[in-house]
């Protein structure tokens, strides 16, 4: 397997892990927070909120304007 395919498989595995962890967080009484709750926790403070929202905007910029 080429390193290209390995890298693509790595990103696919990470994406799958993200979906699985979020799904685990949606079970009743789960100790794992959902991604939304995790981000909300970070965004409780003003710098955290600005940072997360800026990161979201940057993602759009990065993927569309390149």
């Amino acid at each position: 397997m080429s390193t290209h395919n390995l890298t693509v498989a790595g990103f696919a595995a990470i994406l799958a892990a993200l979906v699985i962890v979020d799904a685990l967080g949606r079970r009743p009484n789960s100790r794992i927070p959902t991604l939304s709750d995790l981000l909300a926790y970070v965004m409780r403070s003003w710098p955290g909120r600005v940072g997360v929202l800026f990161f979201w905007w940057w993602l759009g910029w990065h993927f569309i304007a390149r």
Binding site: L53, G60, I64, A65, R66
Partner: protein, 160 residues
């Protein structure tokens, strides 16, 4: 006091929660409104979002049009968030360290792979995530779908 609006009783008037509600204009949009519910409540907003996504879908690569559109959108979003604070869904006050561990692993794995590929030159053999997605994001349909998903995620974030 019981909040009947949360119990899904369609006969009960929605309780004023947002600044717009409190200033007299009733709005069906609350902190739990999803992007899809927002589209149903305000179709004109969906039309604007679709036009925005279409405009970005028609652009290509690192050129002035997408940069200008996204820069203006960014400034408009900052102004909107500053001038019109919204009620948000309550955030968790504490998170379990053990429960957060899987997220830390996922984030570190992503950051590690992305940085490794970046410092190996972002070549074909070591592509970053954006190198992989670039060919798809160069097509109109995928660009429009990406922008719509991105706007939906943004709507979710400002409500948290």
């Amino acid at each position: 006091m019981t909040n009947h609006a949360d119990e899904g009783d369609p006969t009960t008037e929605p309780i004023a929660t947002t600044p717009a509600d409190l200033s007299g204009s009733t709005s069906p949009v609350g902190p739990d409104t999803t992007a899809w519910q927002l589209v149903q409540a305000k179709p004109w907003l969906a039309a604007v979002a679709l036009m925005f996504a279409t405009a970005l879908g028609l652009t290509h690569g690192l050129t002035a049009p997408p940069q200008v559109i996204l820069a203006i959108f960014g400034w408009m979003m900052c102004a909107w968030l500053a001038l019109r604070p919204m009620e948000r869904r309550p955030a968790p006050q504490r998170l379990s360290l053990v429960g957060t561990l899987p997220w830390i692993v996922v984030i570190l794995a992503f950051a590690g792979l992305e940085l490794y590929s970046f410092f190996r030159g972002s070549t074909y053999e070591h592509p970053t995530l954006s190198d992989i997605t670039d060919p798809a994001l160069d097509t109109f349909g995928v660009r429009v779908a990406f922008v719509i998903g991105w706007l939906g995620a943004g709507w979710h974030l400002v409500r948290r």
